[in-house]
Symmetry: C2
Subunit: 189 residues, 2 copies
């Protein structure tokens, strides 16, 4: 776990460029969506205009983040059918993802937000339901100060290449596998 620099606690040097970033949280570990939620929370604390779009997750699901967002009047737009690898109607899953992406595109180009989260957007990209080129083309046209955060495993190489900030959440230890512990409300959903 040792790392080589002490940069984290040093003041940031270099030119003070301000711009909205394209951020990707990927990898097989925990924390991709929760880190995006943390940004949402933080940005909301600064009165920034935040919006989260969830792919795949079921439209009516009452996850903890949705409950919290409702209390705060933050918009979380989930459009999905609760996709799992056992889904019978994969065509519907794909169609919903494409429909959601069209809504996201409009939001990205609208200049009405400061932070937009595309939660689990990597899956539609990875499986080819949404072309990566289309996503990148849209991100190129985003308002200068808008931050876009994309989460999910299997981030395509082209997206990683294009993004400003990419973090891989790596699983070091996982209680479900090792101890047979189930997902805990609050902590994980």
């Amino acid at each position: 776990m040792a790392t080589d620099t002490k940069r984290e606690h040093q003041p940031v040097k270099g030119p003070r460029i301000r711009k909205g970033l394209v951020v990707v949280n990927t990898g097989n570990g925990k924390g991709k969506t929760t880190a995006a939620l943390g940004v949402l929370f933080r940005a909301w604390g600064r009165d920034m205009r935040v919006k989260m779009f969830q792919f795949l997750k079921h439209t009516g699901a009452r996850f903890g983040e949705k409950r919290a967002a409702e209390k705060l009047d933050i918009e979380i737009n989930a459009l999905g059918d609760g996709f799992t690898w056992r889904s019978k109607d994969m065509q519907r899953t794909e169609d919903l993802a494409r429909e959601q992406w069209e809504i996201c595109k409009q939001a990205i180009l609208s200049d009405e937000h400061d932070v937009i989260i595309l939660d689990e957007f990597t899956y539609p990209l990875h499986y080819g339901w949404v072309p990566v080129e289309d996503a990148i083309e849209t991100l190129k046209q985003k308002p200068h100060m808008l931050h876009v955060i994309i989460t999910g495993r299997y981030a395509p190489d082209e997206l990683v290449e294009f993004a400003d900030l990419v973090t891989e959440m790596r699983e070091i230890k996982h209680p479900y596998k090792e101890q047979g512990i189930k997902a805990q409300p609050g902590l994980e959903f």
Copy 2:
């Protein structure tokens, strides 16, 4: 970025044990604190009793998370002197960290919380200001359902060994180094 399993979208199998977890977010990448904040936000959405303790960060700092927390009546307890590697009075930094740990200990053992975050607690452990054994001994005595989330680089091996869930946030791409972009409010603090 490719990973080998599709588990993330599969329902969790195995015995349905419920217990509070000890979670560690470590590594040199972004997202350690923000993922903890995301959990805080999510758990708050479920009306869980949440509390965050920040080590090292300056007591009076007005980070985005603090502003958000104040609006929501969530307690974030920061006790530090804004530690950097240029600090002149390292003894004071150490003393504040130890003092903060004593407060955390009481909170962990009090059974008054559902989720406690010890933000950047790995540093006092790594530098030996707080003995790792003391931390683990306290965690062993925590209430059964309490989740404790510890963030920061250099998580000591004994802590990783003891924790239930450990994720390493790995830096793949970082805009400050590569593009000279400064830390962005809302996104990072």
